[in-house]
Amino acid sequence: MLSRVAENIYWLARYLERAEDTARLINVTSNLLLDFPRTTRLDWDSLVVISGAEEIFDEHYDTRSADNVLNFLCVDQHYPGSIISSLDAARENLRTTRDILPREIWEELNTLYLDMHRQAENGITSRKRDAIMKRVIRSCQTINGVIEGSLSHTQVHTFLMLGRNLERGDMTTRIIDVRSANLLPRNTDDLTPFEGLQWMSVLKSLTGYQMYRQQVRLRVKGPDVLRFLLQDEYFPRSVASCLGQLSYELEDLPGHDEAQALVDKTLSLLINANLVSLAYEPDSLHDFVDELQISFNELHQAIAEQYFSGAYRSQSQSSAA
């Protein structure tokens, strides 16, 4: 398989997953906001902050109001991480590879893309927010279903899975980060009545509430939720499960040693985490999430070096040495 095609396929999967997970991130924030009293410092601003997009946001908007943030994250093409930008990028990557993927993927993505551009023209309001986010999530799930049901398990499939799981693991850490981003008063007494609610909405945004309840029969508590989202082997959106998938897919590819070592390193980071302190100390949770995101980035670099255009450069270097 051509490196360029592998790279396109990989990015297609990443952008699709990013669109879906951004929709989930928006929903978790919205749900949290609805349940919290005015006295908390929780607001839409934090979504811009954890997306690392303050500069570009302030360039285009005056205030960090709910509608502004929604439009920025959903349909603003100035922001490369918005849902619409992710869909545009996914579609561009699919253009050159559509011949090797089931035709329905193109149709589904193209319809979603056109719908979102129509929404962009009308602007997104809080009232329409839920329906639009569900629409995005559902289309992405449909595409995953088509891949599951009709794509042979060749290298094309391998690179789709690599892209999807890397992005998904990374995005799960970002959704967890909502918890840490100064969303709540630091005083534990103020926090108690809302603690359960907050963790529950994080779970729900990852469609993990049901699965969590099946495994953890106690009332929802921070350390248990973190254990579930970070370390659970069976829940497909948990970070450990994404890493497990990455390792499984890498196994079939030649020259996977470096990438596999990075997966192992990240897994041991997860296993050794002190979940109790992470659950109650927003700052250390934020630092931990940062560390995980750096690991994901290293893993991406290793994959790109080995399988995409980087492969030739490193080979010619080693043959010259």
Binding site: M1, L2, S3, R4, A6, T96, D99, A311, Y312, Q315
Partner: protein, 483 residues
């Protein structure tokens, strides 16, 4: 809705491909005309609709790039096939093979001894001013001495029924995928007519193309790696590049997928590492192939590709420089070229051509601009042309100055009365002008011609413009065996 009345079909004044005169089909077309005359406007509309659905489902598109965005348009297709009897086609086929064989000898000669110039058949100034002559190709011996492996020649028919070759496309001719897909669509909508067994099949092309490409490999003993090289998705023929790669089961690569190593071997970058490439069916123009040798700005090409080709490490199809014979002025010499290299009389007619570089011809052209079509030597796609009978006095005067300033760059031909063929317009069949582009493959051991070719039709009444971007469409082409 009334049934089709061939007696009302107004084909007077031109040669029609299906009817000898109103109400009277040519023998090869009688089964089709009889079949269609059983249908009314509604049935025709249903067939047209079925064809459109098939085209959409099969994803047959061409790309129009305008105003910074890209549009995939459905391929414009007319359901009424164009028919050529087998015995006439066999003569045409022989003429095309002869033509391409001579052109390959001609190109090889130009890049070596230039005997044809020394023997004063071709004036040296024609070559000196050719923009498609590549000095970088002088002395190179491509595999089997073949330069134009794939040629798309445009053929038209005049009022008296004579077939003329209008031009030979030797650079990166396109359209063959549409020829194949037109047949697939027609089989779906007119299956009954194919059961007669008289319509010759076309689907062997991609197999022949693959065999030809393999026969060019510099490592014939091994399992040769063939690739199709495209400029990318923004190219108007990207559908075809992708289609041919898929049909042959080879990789579709872009310039960035290839690298040339220090031993001049070409590799493609794959997830399994470097993989050697032996034959490149390139759909990228000469000047963008290799930034080391040609346009240094080219991002479509591969640095070192010409080096690899020159040293026989890779085959490039068509060979760089083959376009030297794809020149409107060289065209006028093709009958002489055939006689010179093959010692045979040309089997297919050339359109009579006046070369403005010759004093007598130029005088005739300038005196008769209102009757002639004047073409620049090196443009394709109908650019920079003067169609005398349709031009204003002012336009003709301006063009006369262009000719005087650079006579070598212009040649003129009489306007031909292009043949017509019945075409579905709304719910009626009306005559529309057509041409034909067959494709000729030149391999190590054999020369093959497609069965028929791509028939292009000017859908606007009276128009002669068959380009799909300018209101042109296409049809299936049937070679019919009467025996």
């Amino acid at each position: 809705m009334s049934k089709i009345q061939w007696s009302e079909y107004a084909c007077d004044g031109f040669y029609d491909e299906l009817l000898a005169r109103p109400g009277e089909p040519h023998p090869a077309a009688s089964m089709l005309c009889d079949y269609l005359s059983e249908l009314g406007g509604r049935e025709l509309a249903e067939l047209k609709n079925a064809a459109e659905v098939a085209i959409q489902v099969m994803g047959i598109t061409f790309t129009v790039y305008s105003e910074g965005s890209m549009i995939d348009r459905a391929w414009p297709f007319d359901i009424v096939p164009r028919i050529i009897p087998l015995d006439e086609w066999q003569k045409t086929e022989a003429g095309l093979k002869q033509r391409v064989q001579a052109l390959n000898l001609f190109i090889d000669d130009l890049y070596h001894d230039q005997r044809i110039i020394k023997d004063k058949i071709l004036p040296a100034e024609v070559l000196a001013q050719s923009v498609n002559f590549r000095k970088q190709c002088v002395g190179i011996n491509p595999p089997n001495n073949i330069w134009a492996h794939i040629c798309g020649s445009d053929i038209v028919r005049d009022k008296d029924g004579t077939l003329y070759v209008l031009e030979d496309n030797l650079r990166v001719p396109s359209g063959v995928s549409y020829m194949l897909e037109n047949r697939n669509v027609t089989k779906r909508i007119l299956p009954e007519l194919f059961q007669t067994g008289r319509i010759q099949p076309v689907d062997d092309y991609t197999g022949q193309l693959y065999d030809m490409l393999v026969s060019m490999s510099p490592r014939p003993g091994d399992d040769p790696q063939v690739v199709v090289m495209t400029p990318g998705i923004y190219n108007s023929a990207y559908f075809e590049h992708s289609y041919l790669a898929q049909q042959m089961g080879v990789e579709l690569v872009e310039g960035t997928d290839l690298v040339v190593d220090d031993d001049d071997v070409v590799h493609m970058l794959t997830v399994d590492g470097l993989k050697r490439v032996d034959v490149i069916y390139r759909r990228v123009d000469d000047l963008f192939l290799d930034p080391e040798v040609f346009n240094p700005e080219s991002a479509l090409g591969v640095p070192g590709l010409m080096r690899a080709w020159r040293n026989g490490k890779v085959a490039l199809v068509n060979a760089p420089g083959a376009g030297v014979a794809d020149d409107k002025v060289v065209y006028a010499f093709v009958p002489e070229i055939i006689r010179y290299y093959l010692s045979e009389e040309p089997l297919l007619a050339n359109v009579p051509s006046y070369l403005c570089m010759r004093d007598d011809d130029r005088k005739y052209v300038l005196d008769n601009l209102d009757k002639l079509v004047v073409k620049p030597a090196n443009e394709s796609g109908g650019y920079g042309m003067l169609v005398g009978p349709h031009a204003t006095k002012k336009e003709r005067a301006a063009f006369a100055e262009l000719i005087k300033a650079n006579p070598r760059n212009y040649m003129a031909q009489p306007t031909l009365n292009l043949s017509t063929t019945p075409t579905l317009i709304e719910d009626r069949l009306e005559p529309r002008h057509v041409d034909l582009r067959p494709f000729i493959l030149s391999g190590k051991n054999s020369t093959e011609v497609t069965t028929g070719g791509l028939t292009r039709v000017a859908l606007n009444k009276g128009s002669l413009v068959v380009n799909s971007s300018q209101g042109g469409g296409s049809k299936d082409t049937w070679i019919v065996d009467l025996k």
